[in-house]
Amino acid sequence: MPDIGIAQPPIDRPVLEVENLGVRFRRRGTDVAAVNGASFSLQRGETLTILGESGSGKSVSLKALMGLLPGYAEVTGKVWLNGQEILGLPAAALAKLRGGSLSMIFQEPMAALDPVYTIGEQIAETIVQHDHVDHRTAMKRALGLLEQVKIPSAARRLKNFPHEMSGGMRQRAMIALALACSPSVLLADEPTTALDVTVQIQILLLLRQLQQELGMAIVFVTHDVGAAAEISDRIAVMYAGRFVESGTSREIIRTPRHPYTEGLLASTVHGGMRGTKLETIPGSPPNMARLPPGCAFAPRCRHTVEACRRDEIPVTISPTGAMARCVRAVESVPA
């Protein structure tokens, strides 16, 4: 396999395997290659963070897995969930999957929840749909879910409409909804970005705890290195629709090998940087409709050599399984 993003850990079969995922938006003369061959796999109970800036293709990747992209999007590659191939499933099968063994939480719970139904109704509806139980049983399970995500006075909150809740509470309600049918994989698209810091850490801790209790795998998408450090086992850094580097969160944060990861970490303001000039990555992310050949980061990279602009960049995998897609990484690894 030429394009392995992350080396697979040699335990039993992963719950989620993604091979060479590609997404292309072709419409009215525009042709945007949003995701260009992303591969990863996840074990039960593992959290992988996809870290990237806006337009890097991280959210589009999640939506592709969930089958939420519009009809004109061309999705290529292979995705196995619990051993079942799920890309290109017919609508009915997909509907069964979504909210069942695969579910997703979003940045904006207000947009993800239905404003005209109570929280309880929405959770119960999902349970009735997937598990074919009666409404009363479903409501009882909904109550249990709200308690599980630590919503205070859950019985009363069950009868609340989304607008009657605070931001953090809505986020918890959305997590409860996503967990309704005990998914094996939870896709989380920037679920903490719109929250205040004191609430953000609560949600991160909640996700970590729920994961331990339920053993689900999480794909967590964020642009926030801080959130990534708090929640992930492994981090994959995405740039221009490709993973440029991946490894354990320790490897990525302590010893990044790709210049983009280095730049991203250096330009993230943290304590004790007062009085120093911030290191920046010059320029801005590339136009996804006109990606340069070779390494997409080459125009902004200070180490660019001729080979970077020419052809496909080889992937280097370290003995620990960390991946880097950089010409320099090849040189630095002893043969």
Binding site: E53, G167, V197, T198, V269, M273, L278
Partner: protein, 357 residues
Amino acid sequence: MSSTLALDPRDRGGPAQPLLRVDNLKKYFPVRGGLLNRTVATVQAVDDISFFVKKGETLGVVGESGCGKSTTARLLMRLVEPDAGAVVFDGDPVGMEHGISVNDMRRQMQMVFQDSYSSLNPRMTMAESVAYAPRMHGLGRKEAYDRAEGLLAQVGLNPRQYARRYPHELSGGQRQRVNIARALALEPRLVILDEAVAALDKSVEAQVLNLLTDLKEKFNLTYLFISHDLNVVEYMSDRVMVMYLGRVVETGPVEQIYRHPRHPYTRALFASKPTLDPDRRTNEMPLTGDPPNPINPPSGCRFRTRCAFAEAICAEKTPILGAPLDGDDDGASPHLVACHLPAAQRMSMAATGGRHA
């Protein structure tokens, strides 16, 4: 720095006089409802806050959503009329008979908003947007456009390439540079940055922060830097003011606030900050719940409903922002805290109450 400031012909009170002083500023927004659309409640957005900004410094304002930091900025710019309180700009009360007019104040005080796109007119080119205010304030067309092009160059946008572009043709970071250029077009002395980098990607955020630091030096600016990002505020500010539900709970020099926070809210806020270290993850929630609704804030200390140390007095009496008992008050930048607790009043005890005990 004070010597260059004294050269500013607009300077009035000398370097020791605060550029901006705010006394007992207050804004309650009515909440209307019911059949007759009567006022049914009030949002106490900003409730009796006082602070000052010294010449040439950056005052950082932090707090969670609903704490009143953006309303404060809008009150200062008079985009919203205050219910009570006084704003004094370099010794001149704003909008008073014996002071300066709101218009004159705005010439010296400008603002940059979070959303770079909605704060630019989509039908105006970059040069037109930047030149607009100088033209309104009486500058000729040619001079105004020359100034606009000069400013675009100052913020790192080549005027030849960008002056004739429209907002939708620029990236978020570039648009925010234009907003900064526009804020500087009237040669203000104070710039209010209301979450000015919050919507930018990290790599772009760092570029804009560097730009702001350079411009501050070049144009002798004073900043009021509002942000929810604790790391960015620490990086940018000389002094910091922490707000909670419309009130100031703690203020002081940045090192004091970040190394020895005294107020339980400030401490919880800092403890909520992601550690950026996979081996030292946060394992306990510093605070539970969301900030309460500012419509019916708790009596006394507004933080008491989420405070682990709250006592009876906290519900009865509103704590006053004042120097703690063992305050190392140097007069010019005092560390003030609004808390009844002895732990906040005395540093020795405050230190043991921290997270890394």
